[in-house]
């Protein structure tokens, strides 16, 4: 019999903490669902009573750095104020009295190093990546000369994303592009820009006072660079397949599968249901 607590301990022992559990830590696991976010919809659709949802995004909506910055979060009153929130309470109630659990293990997504998420992101978009640099989170792909916009048009449906925020000239042809899952930092973008053959990057998000003006300033100083931000979940969740493989080793005999999310948001000129599960 293997429990959520056993998996948690194994992750921490392997240096893949933090790993936190909500719900039943000591029930024998029947099924493991790997999901970027343990959304209410994903949890509702689970087929087994004793399911462990292994997620990257915090199930109660704190930032991924929560445990690194718990003191700051407490100063902001987040812990106290979130206690009476009806959404958080309703989600917590989904676990009360049951035999399922959520296991939040954000660093598990970096299965084979920091480039794991970016590699899965690139491959899910139909790109063949070059050997990733083990020290950085970005990966690259070489390809026949194609406009960045054409590449984006082809990749968005494969990522099951309807829109992206873009910067730079979508008509510029590129022969090598980079990929950064999650929030692309100026340091990661700089590492890609150092290679003059890299014409642009696909990323999860860029912060408007960090990565976005970095790209703007680079262009103004003579380094044009195309960028498409397709969303955090879309850029990170495909690494769930590698996470699932690792968990099959940790939980032999358990039914381990991935659940992918659809976009949480929709842009103003389209409508979509945002129930959170496809």
């Amino acid at each position: 019999m293997i429990t959520a607590a056993d998996v948690q301990k194994a992750l921490v022992d392997q240096g893949r903490g933090p790993a936190a559990i909500w719900g039943s830590a000591d029930t024998a696991i029947e099924q493991v669902i790997v999901c970027w976010s343990a959304s209410a919809a994903t949890m509702s659709a689970a087929e087994h009573r004793s399911t462990v949802f292994v997620c990257r995004a915090h199930p109660f909506f704190a930032s991924p750095a929560y445990f690194d910055a718990a003191e700051i979060m407490d100063e902001q009153g987040w812990l106290e104020r979130s206690v009476g929130d009806p959404v958080i309470a309703a989600k917590a109630a989904m676990l009360e009295g049951g035999t399922s659990a959520i296991l939040w293990a954000p660093r598990l997504w970096d299965v084979d190093g920091p480039a794991t998420r970016s590699q899965a992101f690139a491959e899910a978009g139909g790109f063949a990546i070059e050997r990733p640099d083990p020290d950085i989170g970005a990966v690259t792909a070489e390809l026949p000369s194609t406009s960045f916009g054409e590449l984006l048009s082809r990749a968005l449906p494969q990522w099951e994303v309807s829109r992206a925020f873009v910067m730079g000239n979508m008509e510029d042809h590129v022969t090598r592009v980079g990929f950064v899952a999650g929030v692309a930092s100026p340091a990661e973008l700089q590492s890609l820009m150092l290679d003059p053959s890299i014409g642009g990057a696909f990323v999860g998000e860029v912060v408007e006072w960090e990565g976005a003006p970095f790209v703007v300033d680079a262009a103004a100083l003579g380094r044009p660079f195309a960028l498409a931000a397709v969303g955090a979940a879309a850029s990170e969740q495909f690494a769930g397949a590698a996470v699932a493989d690792r968990l099959r080793e940790l939980v032999p005999g358990a039914d381990v599968r991935c659940e992918f999310l659809r976009e949480a948001s929709w842009p103003i000129d389209q409508s979509a249901d945002s129930s959170g599960r496809r």
């Binding site: 976010s37 959304s39 209410a40 919809a41 509702s44 915090h58 909506f61 704190a62 930032s63 991924p64 979060m73 902001q76 987040w78 104020r81 929130d85 009806p86 959404v87 309703a90 989600k91 916009g149 048009s153 968005l156 449906p157 994303v161 829109r163 992206a164 925020f165 873009v166 910067m167 979508m170 929030v183 100026p186 340091a187 700089q190 590492s191 820009m193 150092l194 999860g204 860029v206 912060v207 408007e208 006072w209 990565g211 976005a212 003006p213 300033d217 103004a220 100083l221 380094r223 960028l227 931000a229 955090a232 949480a264 948001s265 929709w266 103003i268 409508s271 945002s274 129930s275 959170g276």
Partner: protein, 269 residues
């Protein structure tokens, strides 16, 4: 005595004090580049001192830029860490030196050293909501005639001149009350209890997006409208420039708009 950036900042602090507000040394505000004692030929006020903005300021004869957001792509305006490439940082600082520019950040006090937050007031005014909004900080509440969520989002896009608007929630949700949050769920979770929708300027997906995704299925019919940070705040430079002209009459004061950094690319574009 010639006007210097330090003297301009001193006058700003004196004006803040005269209106009964305290200048806190424990904020992000301060000089970020250049010489505070170099004579000021003109002042450019902006939301962000990008390379394009700095060049425009120099072209207009300004030697002192007052910026709301960082200049060097991180909250602290820290130089790149050891071991990381610094070529863009070096290129930007070289440009600033060549232009003889001094940069001062005015962010925290811009929000709270006035009787009302001028950044939010500018935002509400552009939306036509100033008269129907109570409060003037995180947690402000706006009462509206009932409007569909999708139509409300279009209203924001039109009035703020942006297409970087995203919605989490039912497009047919009837909205009567709007709350305002900053960049994360923690900033609006209290206000959320009394409103139908929260408008935020640039949120990360891992907290607010997932919260509202769950909210649509769990406790309440609530929604989120996420607008770009620039669309919410960059217009406030105009009011800031007007205020500065009153306390620094010796030199020209201009405001330089910062365009949104990105466009929206949809499938089929």
């Amino acid at each position: 005595m010639s006007l210097t950036p330090q003297l301009v900042v001193t006058r700003i602090m004196e004006d803040v004090a005269r209106r009964g507000h305290t200048w806190s040394p424990e904020t992000i505000d301060g000089f970020k580049f250049g010489d505070p004692e170099r004579p000021v030929t003109g002042i450019a006020v902006t939301w962000m001192a990008t390379v394009d903005v700095v060049r425009a300021a120099a072209d207009a004869g300004a030697s002192f830029v007052i910026t709301h957001e960082p200049t060097f792509w991180n909250h602290l305006d820290a130089p790149p860490q050891d071991g990381t490439d610094a070529s863009l940082y070096t290129a930007k600082t070289r440009l600033l030196e060549e232009l003889g520019m001094t940069i001062w950040r005015f962010h925290d006090h811009h929000h709270f050293a006035f009787d009302r937050d001028p950044v939010l007031d500018d935002f509400f005014e552009r939306l036509g909501w100033l008269a129907s909004t109570s409060g003037n900080s995180i947690g402000a509440r706006t009462d509206l005639e009932p409007i569909r969520l999708a139509d409300l989002a279009e209203h924001l896009a039109r009035r703020l001149d942006t297409r970087a608007v995203r919605i989490v929630g039912d497009p047919d949700l009837l909205v009567r009350t709007v709350g305002y949050g900053a960049h994360d769920l923690a900033s609006c979770i209290d206000a959320l209890r009394g409103v139908d929708v929260i408008v935020m300027g640039e949120v990360r997906e891992w907290d607010a997006f997932e919260y509202f995704r769950d909210a649509s299925l769990l406790a309440e019919r609530k929604a989120l409208i996420d607008v770009s940070h620039a669309a919410v705040e960059s217009g406030s430079a105009t009011g800031l420039a007007n205020w500065l002209r009153g306390i620094v009459p010796e030199v020209p004061v201009i405001d330089i708009r910062v365009p949104e950094p990105y466009q929206t690319f949809a499938v089929g574009s």
